[in-house]
């Protein structure tokens, strides 16, 4: 749960950062697009039944790592910010957190051929 909260904060920070630190250009556009998606995934994945959706943060984290080079950030502070955000996201994905409820085998039951789990 805390891992999802921290991921959501990373997303919200990316949205707010261009306004707070006062930058524009490609870095700002990228952060303002990726940020809401990160926060949205984190909020949905906070629910026990959709906890596996946290893996969708993986490509976003990887993208934040390579975005400074792909998009050509000139400011090293913005490049560092993007990479730190990406690292944090990637590091948090494996932390599933505790899910107390059981869901009859979960989503995988739907496409497995052998019944529950």
């Amino acid at each position: 749960m805390w891992a999802r909260i921290v991921s959501a904060i990373v997303g919200v920070w990316l949205v707010a950062s261009p306004g707070v630190l006062g930058y524009g250009g490609r870095a700002a556009v990228n952060d303002r697009i990726v940020g809401p998606v990160i926060a949205a995934i984190a909020i949905v994945a906070a629910a026990g039944v959709t906890r596996e959706l946290r893996w969708a943060e993986l490509p976003l984290g990887l993208w934040l790592l390579i975005a400074p080079w792909t998009l050509g950030y000139h400011n090293p502070v913005l490049a560092a910010q993007s990479m730190i955000a990406g690292f944090v996201l990637l590091a948090l994905v494996p932390f599933r957190g505790r899910v107390r409820a059981s869901y009859g085998g979960g989503w995988r039951v739907l496409w497995s051929d052998h019944g529950d789990t």
Partner: protein, 253 residues
């Protein structure tokens, strides 16, 4: 509880068997109806006691097989419905501002951000404003959330699936608008952000019921004599009350 009711019921049947006059038959039917009422009343009285004692992890009898709780219980559904109502109020207020019914809009952080965004071309890209569509979306979510009883994951999968489908796009559109605000207009709208957060918060808690319904339909599909179509629409409910055994499921392969 149901077993107790049935035994009681059987006694009554035995005593009336020697005198099957129409009047007695009628009385017997009444007694049966009463038994059913007593059963359901006892049942209803028992659910809160179990819900309150969550630490013992006793399974609600309406819980789907393999589930620790019933996702269609009111305790699970009402928070999502409450979020939809709050979201609907926020979106409705923004729509009233967009059409000039409300003179000004509440905006504590971003100056004229709300005014600019709510009167932007994206907001009016469709025949009705985006906040109006949002309010209608929340209304549909709230309705789809309250329709049906505590067994609806099994008795009416169609409404549960519809509920899941309605919650999804509302969230997706909200996120697209949250991205558009700073990228296109370089400002934010506080209540629009609040609405987006509400629509995100609704998705996770709504999905457990959808999963329960889909698992149920999957079990039906593995049972040769059962029709997924009929199960989806909840046709032939008496038939549905028969448990789907693991043996049957395995045999369907």
């Amino acid at each position: 509880m149901a077993r107790l009711g049935t035994a009681h019921h059987r006694d009554r049947e035995a005593s009336s068997r020697h005198a099957p006059s129409p009047a007695e038959q009628h009385r017997d039917d009444n007694a049966r109806a009463m038994d059913r009422e007593i059963d359901s009343a006892l049942h209803a009285a028992r659910i809160p006691a179990r819900g309150a004692d969550a630490t013992t992890r006793r399974v609600d009898e309406h819980a789907p097989p393999g589930w620790s709780y019933n996702p269609a219980s009111w305790r699970q559904r009402l928070p999502v419905v409450a979020l939809a109502v709050v979201g609907g109020c926020v979106a409705g207020y923004l729509a009233l501002y967009q059409y000039g019914v409300v003179r000004d809009v509440w905006e504590p952080f971003f100056g004229d951000g709300s005014r600019r965004i709510l009167h932007s071309s994206i907001s009016f890209a469709l025949p009705v404003s985006d906040a109006t569509l949002g309010a209608l979306g929340y209304l549909a979510d709230a309705l789809a959330g309250v329709i049906g009883g505590v067994r609806r994951w099994r008795t009416m999968p169609w409404i549960v699936v519809l509920f899941g489908i309605l919650v999804g796009p509302l969230g997706a559109v909200s996120i697209a608008l949250v991205i558009a605000q700073p990228v296109v207009y370089h400002t934010f709208c506080t209540l629009c952000l609040l609405s987006a957060v509400i629509s995100m918060l609704m998705i996770g808690p709504a999905m457990d019921e959808v999963l329960a319904s889909l698992q149920y339909l999957r079990r039906v599909s593995r049972t040769p004599e059962r029709s997924v179509w009929r199960a989806f629409w909840g046709i032939g409910r008496d038939d549905l009350s028969a448990p789907l055994t693991r043996g049957k499921r395995g045999g369907a392969q």
